[in-house]
Symmetry: C2
Subunit: 460 residues, 2 copies
């Protein structure tokens, strides 16, 4: 039996009047959206389900968190992006269950419309629900150290950072030096790209943006600390660029601590190297865990005695076959941050936006081959094409690794900026984001320094 | 005894080394901010207290609610606006008490920093904490019909409006025609400027912005109803412009109902003319009540037997003396939407932004006269200079009443647009807001159609 042939829906045969095959895509991130767009001209009835109404340009999310951009600058309604693609139906809903046997997805909860027990039947399913931050089993840290994955996360971080300076000012005005120092201490846990971006930008805010705005504190005396358990920041970069990144961070005023894991996080601060540090703002950029839909898939009982089990890797990501389908379920694909795949050359596919886009397009490619009746496997295995690795550090500081060409500093920063503005979806966003940045660049100002939406975060 | 002379602080005498008089300003809206800025060169120690970190350009708040602008487009940090004004100290805090006898303001609660029982001593106090929406004693309506006063209010309305179309789509997809219609019914209660703006823009969203984006509903079949208890919309305009405004609303697709009060609002809809109407989105633009600080002032026991009582008007606003000071308390001023004043010609000062700015500047004028040692009353009574009355209705529709010159339609809309962009604070905001609007104008798109911050509003 050929499992991929079995998945080609009967209606794919040209010339028949049967309804088109139904593809349900869970998640409108890079993987899901790129798959949907690559299938624009195919005779498929696509339903794209997301619990948010927007596609988010996640690489710039840290700019929303640090008040450089407003939320709508880096997000666009999925419905609007796909308005001209007639074969797509967009649904704002939370997926609460996947029944691989009955081939149905259950919708419900927060974002869902209609009745709570809505279900969607599929012929082909793509699960691309991404990742969330994880606290390595220390979920009690979550309340004290917000992570950065969604727009709401970004606005929470923005609120806490901006409020911290206000609290420091109030503490100083009433003569409370210890309180002032605790509010002026910012710790970022995790030295990956997100942690580096956050720490570098926090230092810029403290040293430049807020200059002369306070009467009782000197914001430039804020302490910004980046804590990485591993030996260096930006683990995915070659060591010379790691060293350059560290030097650039230190030039911006960030205190970089490597080789030391954080021992605890509470309402008053964090533990590091056996000592407790008073700190009111700890940001979490250390752990990523796959979306809970991975565990939902893995909990499915094996279809028959010969059916291979669905396995998760250590981060909860779903181990997929080389064509990104699920073992034993050729009609189900997993792509993006939720997929775990080691390529033929032994290298794992990284959890970054370009890889997610490529995976989404690959799934579309496999489906097109099936629809055209080409033999299974003709689409080939997924291979990640690595065009380079970029990380920004702060104002005029970045590192770029383009397959051997390594640059850092101002040139790398311009390269990073050009690439990110280019990839932002939609003309309007590109143009206005560029203007916002040009303005911020010359003035050191950050136009989105507005605290709102605090109802969920009353303790701060 | 001359009460105004008594209020002139001793330190105002030039040449003495005594500390400058302390002015506490509560509220960074138009009245408070304009007063503070008008005192930039005076030897006064000003503390500006606000529970938000930003000044809000309230006349464009409906654009944030209807996804045309993002929150930072119409707000700027108070601290940033005042960074160069050395005699001002900005405090993010909630005022929890005013002690007129001891001349102290108590800070605490949500926005406050430092210890909970912070107090600020003053020599002169300006209370400019504005107004909030009121439900005429029907506070149970508040949960079902959000009003529009703060950025959080605007984002709540945006979330509910955008989600309503999503829910209608889901209901239609599952064959629930009644649910679809209830989600596609939008009612705006109150035909003042805010209600007219909201209704007109909702109609524009339904008829143009969302065109072709849904597969199961036709957004242009949404029903947008504006309900006004009085005989006409825009009560503050002359009748011919009221009629024009109504005609323009109807041309945009708004159903205008006048002369009929809403009888009830619940989770399923509203009552009107004895009938219940299924409607999932009711917006409240009907009632305004003064900030609770008015009641706090009025609760102060009269200082002596000869001291006049502090009275509130029907809307809870504080009745002030012609120079905007409090009866019996020449050292306390009330300005902006919280102040109730009938001018010498018998006309009340309207609760609009230009009047608030003028009141703020008048308080500064009175204080400058006192500091200069000029006789009490030399600053004269406050007189509102009425430069005209503008109201926008929607795309290319507005009414303008410039002391007899009455225009409506496209020309009025351009006039309104120019005036509002001009008055937005700060070059950056003006330029980018203009670009956003130019873009929205040509494309009918609204760039801020992003739902976020829903944690406080999980029922929707």
């Amino acid at each position: 039996m050929n499992p991929t042939a079995q998945a080609a829906p009967p209606s794919a045969t040209p010339g028949t009047a049967s309804p088109p095959p139904r593809l349900v895509v869970i998640g409108g991130g890079f993987a899901g959206l790129w798959a949907v767009r690559a299938l624009a001209r195919e005779p498929i009835a696509i339903t794209l389900v997301d619990r948010a109404n927007h596609h988010l340009f996640q690489p710039l999310l840290y700019q929303v968190a640090t008040a450089g951009l407003s939320a709508p600058d880096i997000a666009a309604p999925l419905r609007h992006i796909l308005r001209a693609q007639a074969n797509v139906d967009v649904r704002l809903a939370e997926v609460t269950g996947i029944d691989l046997g009955a081939r149905r997805v259950r919708l419900g909860g927060g974002g869902s419309g209609g009745s709570a027990d809505d279900t969607l039947a599929y012929d082909v399913l793509l699960v691309a629900s991404g990742a969330a931050h994880a606290y390595f089993g220390r979920d009690d840290w979550a309340a004290h150290a917000p992570g950065l994955k969604t727009l709401d996360d970004a606005l929470t971080i923005r609120r806490r950072v901006l409020t911290a300076f206000e609290r420091a000012e109030a503490a100083a005005a009433s003569g409370d030096a210890a309180g002032r120092d605790a509010w002026l201490h910012f710790a970022v846990v995790g030295g990956g790209p997100t942690g580096v971006e956050l720490a570098g930008t926090l230092a810029e805010i403290a040293h430049h943006t807020l200059k002369r705005e306070f009467r009782h504190i000197d914001p430039s005396r804020a302490r910004v600390r980046l804590v990485e358990a591993g030996p260096a920041v930006l683990a995915s970069f070659p060591p010379p660029l790691q060293a350059k990144a560290r030097a650039q961070l230190e030039r911006l005023g960030v205190e970089v601590v490597t080789g030391t894991p954080v021992g605890g996080i509470d309402a008053d601060g964090y533990r590091l190297g056996g000592r407790h540090h008073d700190c009111r703002t700890v940001l979490w950029a250390a752990g990523v865990a796959a979306s809970p839909l991975g565990a939902m898939l893995a909990a499915t009982p094996a279809a028959g005695s010969g059916s291979p089990a669905i396995e998760l890797d250590r981060a909860g990501r779903v181990k997929v076959r080389p064509d990104l389908s699920l073992p034993g379920h050729p009609e189900v694909f997993v792509a993006g941050d939720l997929a775990s795949l080691v390529q033929p050359d032994g290298r794992p596919v990284p959890g970054i936006a370009p890889a997610a886009k490529q995976m989404g397009r690959h799934v579309a490619h496999v489906l097109r081959a099936r629809l055209a009746g080409r033999p299974a496997g003709s689409a080939g295995p997924f291979v990640y094409r690595d065009y380079g690795n970029l990380a920004t550090i702060g104002r005029m500081a970045a590192v770029v690794d383009l397959r051997g060409l390594r640059i850092s500093g101002l040139l790398a920063w311009w390269f990073w900026l050009a690439a990110h503005v280019f990839f932002l979806i939609g003309f309007r966003n590109r143009l206005l984001v560029l203007l916002n940045w040009a303005w911020a660049y010359w003035t050191y100002q950050r136009h989105a320094r507005i605290v709102h939406g605090g109802a969920a975060d009353k303790d701060v």
